[in-house]
């Protein structure tokens, strides 16, 4: 007799056929930082920043406010709006690249603070694609039967990793967190995720030094840098292909969308992206970057939260969301807005 015949059969769970986003929550840094506050060290002007980025102000957090506080506030709002009992949340995923402490994770502390202890909790490092990655994971965890209700947060305190003299990216960056609750649905609320990476372009955007180099006095405090034109080309012309794949995989056309929520990297990217995608006038385009800045993993849920407040008519419609950034990594999916 082989061992396989005497081994007891395992139970492998499966979950519901469909999931959807129930509700959004948002928290932005307390300070509204105008361009004029940043132009000195980069020998620039308000006009220069507005013209090249579309940013008028960005939100940045006070010194004592961390990504944990921002995440907790955003997650608590999303849970309250969802109607889900926080005790029923059994997975908390936080996408972030700016937690200054490698461990413990932001997510475990957030899970405890919002009343979801002992939910499974872990952080995701996929930069500006982190939220789309985490939504893909939550969707799969629930449909696979590994979780019932998931909280997904994108959270950043990027003001801790900026160099005031850097002209490539620092002046774009803001602090904030956006959150959603994802759970079972009787209709398809999250389309297939088109995601991937290109590590051959790892130098295009990311931290300029390691913490070890900093410790050993070989480099200053690590901060974010980017090769702007390289990132721009990739973020528009390569990501348009990914966006089209996400629409096709979901079985919808651009004209079926109520909203387009790209990562809020730069208004010029958003405008060119929308142009290349050929979006009809009826599609509302998220432009939260104008007053929030680029908040990496937080930008998509923050922008969507604002879109739902300013354009309540898009509720129940389809939104195409796409994140792209350091790695390089990208993730896109079509979702039904709550």
């Amino acid at each position: 007799m082989s061992t396989s015949t005497i081994r007891p059969a395992l139970h492998q769970p499966t979950g519901p056929a469909h999931t959807r986003i129930y509700a959004y929550g948002a928290a932005r840094g307390e300070k509204i930082v105008p361009n004029d506050d940043l132009v000195g060290p980069i020998d620039s002007s308000d006009e220069w920043i507005r013209q090249r980025t579309g940013i008028v102000t960005r939100t940045r957090a006070n010194a004592e406010t961390t990504a944990i506080e921002l995440s907790t506030d955003a997650a608590a709002e999303a849970i309250a709006r969802s109607g889900v009992d926080p005790a029923d949340v059994d997975a908390v995923i936080v996408a972030t690249i700016s937690n200054p402490k490698q461990t413990p994770s932001v997510s475990a502390i957030v899970a405890d603070r919002v009343g979801a202890n002992p939910a499974a909790a872990y952080d995701v490092n996929a930069a500006c694609a982190g939220f789309a990655y985490a939504v893909a994971q939550a969707d799969a965890l629930i449909r696979g039967g590994a979780a019932h209700y998931a909280v997904v947060v994108g959270a950043e305190k990027l003001s801790d990793v900026v160099d005031p003299t850097d002209r490539s990216i620092s002046f774009l960056l803001g602090d904030g967190a956006g959150a959603v609750v994802i759970g079972p649905s009787d209709y398809a609320g999250i389309g297939p995720t088109i995601w991937g990476s290109d590590g051959s372009k790892s130098d295009a955007v990311g931290m300029n030094h390691t913490l070890v180099e900093f410790r050993d006095g070989l480099a200053p405090w690590p901060t974010l840098r980017q090769e702007g034109p390289t990132v721009f080309r990739w973020a528009v012309w390569e990501m348009v292909k990914v966006a089209r794949q996400a629409l096709e995989a979901a079985g919808v056309e651009a004209s079926d969308l109520a909203a387009f929520v790209p990562h809020q990297a730069n208004m010029r990217i958003i405008d060119e992206f929308a142009k290349q995608l050929g979006l009809p006038e009826s599609v509302v385009i998220a432009r939260d970057i104008e007053t929030t800045g680029n908040t990496s993993a937080a930008s998509i849920p923050l922008a969507t939260h604002r879109l739902l407040e300013e354009h309540p008519e898009v509720s129940g419609g389809l939104a195409l969301q796409i994140g792209f950034g350091a790695g390089l990594v990208f993730g896109a999916q079509v979702i039904v807005l709550p």
């Binding site: 013209q51 090249r52 090769e227 702007g228 034109p229 390289t230 721009f232 080309r233 528009v236 012309w237 730069n266 010029r268 060119e272």
Partner: protein, 82 residues
């Protein structure tokens, strides 16, 4: 089909006008993209991608930095077209 220098210059001028609103008359071989035409890096990249499509060439990111003048771009495109 290979494009001549004049054809590439005229085509580039059209792309520059579309992206920036600069009159095609101002686009000449000796003009610097940044100093004379005041084209920023993002507009430059948009022009580059559109030029790739128009002229059937590949202009790598690292090459874009070397294209200081309109003449540099015309030369690169005419010598690299397939």
């Amino acid at each position: 089909m290979a494009f001549s220098n004049d054809e590439v210059l005229a085509g580039l001028a059209e792309l520059i006008t579309d992206e920036t609103g600069i009159s095609a008359d101002e686009v000449a071989l000796e003009k610097s993209f940044t100093d004379d035409l005041d084209i920023d890096s993002i507009s430059m990249m948009t022009i580059v991608v559109n030029a790739e499509e128009k002229f059937g060439v590949t202009i790598p990111d690292e090459e874009v930095k070397n294209l200081k003048t309109v003449g540099d771009a015309v030369t690169f495109i005419t010598t690299n077209q397939g």
